[in-house]
């Protein structure tokens, strides 16, 4: 199978990016050094090509009831022009995908899903559409997306649009906004813990938007790759599907119950209710390594009696904190804050302490 390229592929190559395979896509991992790109987003601004993300429109007379059945969060409480984070759950309460739903109006929803799951999500929605008067339109191959993130993001984006960005609150979006002469959808969202925007437009306009943003942000804005996207989101306690979330992990175990409507009836809601009533076996905790080593995804975690109690979901030497930290999915009745655990790193067991997994204060706007 040939790999997919975003319309910005040539831009990445020209910039000297290290382009790697990412779930069937050729994506930039780094342009210079991961740590420099990470710092650029925390201190100034970075621009990500995230055109690999999936965009699936659900529209029609029955779309509200259909989304209610499919999505874990309550979209009735979301105003037109606002966005909800949540999950498609399977019947066992595992996660098919985590996604943003952009509520355009009562009869039109845009689902922004993981690139790795776009085809699965599309099939999942179609498998449940019978009896609903809706259309499911997967427009992922036509839509490009960039994310401009960091404390200087608004200042830079404002230079190339007449739309007053101050009027756009966190987790809200606006369509038909002209950016550098191109009609775009802009949302104040991101995956870094910093303020910033995600901008959607047609593939053909991608290079124009990309160039205009760098011109506006000259000397400040850096192109940044998937490498720092992962370290940034991890420090901000944002989960990644395949790490903190998965087909066999419940959102309640992962600590994201606030995105699961307590009252609603949707696929998996009965399992969620049972888990809330006490049938929950695991929890996601933060760890700080006290011994040397890096705790990485998949490494086993042991308690003080050497009993295996879970595994690492993500771990890094945090560029912003200069400490080795990790998320671990462990037994619910296992160690809690300040307790000592051990991480199996190859043949050694490294001592670690359970800490709050909100490692970093988020700078997103209210």
């Amino acid at each position: 199978m040939s790999l997919k390229r975003t319309p910005l592929y040539n831009k990445h190559k020209e910039a000297g990016a290290d382009v790697v395979e990412f779930f069937g896509w050729e994506m930039p991992m780094t342009y210079t050094k991961l740590s420099e790109e990470h710092e650029a987003v925390r201190r100034a601004a970075g621009l990500f090509d995230v055109s690999h993300m999936g965009e699936i429109y659900v529209e029609g007379k029955d779309s509200a009831v259909f989304m209610k059945k499919m999505f874990s969060n309550n979209l009735e409480k979301v105003a037109d022009g606002a966005i909800a984070y949540g999950f498609f759950l399977n019947e066992k309460g595992g996660i098919v995908d985590d996604l943003l739903v952009y509520r355009r109006n009562e009869n039109s929803y845009l689902c922004v899903v993981n690139a790795s799951n776009t085809d699965k999500d599309d099939a999942w929605l179609r498998a449940h559409q019978e009896g609903f008067d809706i259309s499911i339109d997967n427009r992922s191959d036509d839509i490009a997306e960039v994310a401009i993130q960091g404390p200087k993001a608004q200042e830079i984006l404002q230079k190339v649009t007449d739309f007053d960005l101050d009027t756009l609150p966190f987790f809200h979006f606006k369509e038909d906004i002209v950016v550098a002469g191109v009609s775009c959808l802009i949302s104040r969202t991101g995956y870094t813990g910093e303020d910033g925007f995600e901008i959607y437009f047609g593939n053909d306009d991608a290079q124009k938007v990309w160039d205009a943003l760098f011109e506006a942000g000259e000397g400040v804005l850096k192109p940044v790759g998937l490498g720092c996207r992962d370290t940034l989101r991890f420090e901000a306690a944002l989960p990644l599907y395949g790490n903190e979330l998965g087909d066999d992990i419940s959102p309640l175990e992962a600590g994201f119950g606030i995105f699961v409507d307590k009252e609603g009836t949707f696929i998996g809601s009965d399992v969620m209710r049972a888990q809330r009533a006490g049938e929950l076996s695991r929890k996601l905790v933060g760890l700080e390594l006290l011994d040397k080593g890096i705790a990485r995804h998949g490494y086993p975690v042991y308690d003080e009696n050497d009993k295996e109690i879970g595994f690492i979901t993500t771990g890094y030497k945090s560029p912003s904190l200069d400490k080795v930290i990790a998320n671990a999915l462990i037994e619910k009745d296992g160690p809690s804050i300040d307790d000592i655990v051990y991480v199996g790193i190859r043949s050694k067991k490294a001592k670690a302490k359970v800490i709050n997994k909100r490692y970093l204060h988020k700078n997103t706007k209210k």
Binding site: L34, S35, K292, I294, R296, Y316, K317, R346
Partner: protein, 124 residues
């Protein structure tokens, strides 16, 4: 004949007497990016060609250091435990481990600097 050799896994071997100092090439460090941790082997371990004698970890990944020679671990560069970034700063000057050679013939299968440059030309 030069005493500096390279492997296809982008390691270098500098031979001094019966001892081989092993590090990673400049190409390897640039590919890895920010090196944040180096795991060293135990002193006096006996190792054979292809055994892991350490791990070099960047932010993104952990890469084994496979020894291209057999012998006994006689020195480890403990400076790297606290300052792994030394490998980024000067990969050729910072050895990771030294092995007392048990089979000098192991060296014959390695590349010299010129061959390695050619190899990089194909690889890069």
């Amino acid at each position: 004949m030069s005493n500096l050799f390279f492997t296809e896994e982008h390691e270098w071997v500098r031979v001094e007497g019966n001892k081989a100092y092993i590090g990673i090439s400049n190409y390897a460090q640039s590919q890895l990016g920010d090196i944040v941790y180096v795991e060293l082997p135990e002193m006096d371990d006996e190792v054979s060609v292809g055994d892991s004698v350490g791990v070099v970890e960047s932010v993104k990944s952990a890469s084994d250091l496979f020894t291209p020679v057999s012998g006994t671990i006689v020195e480890i560069n403990e400076d790297l435990e606290d300052s792994p970034e030394l490998l980024n700063e000067d990969a050729m000057a910072n050895w990771i481990v030294a092995i007392e050679l048990s089979e000098k013939e192991d060296l014959t299968s390695l590349m010299d600097e010129e061959d390695y440059k050619q190899f990089l030309g194909e690889d890069a």
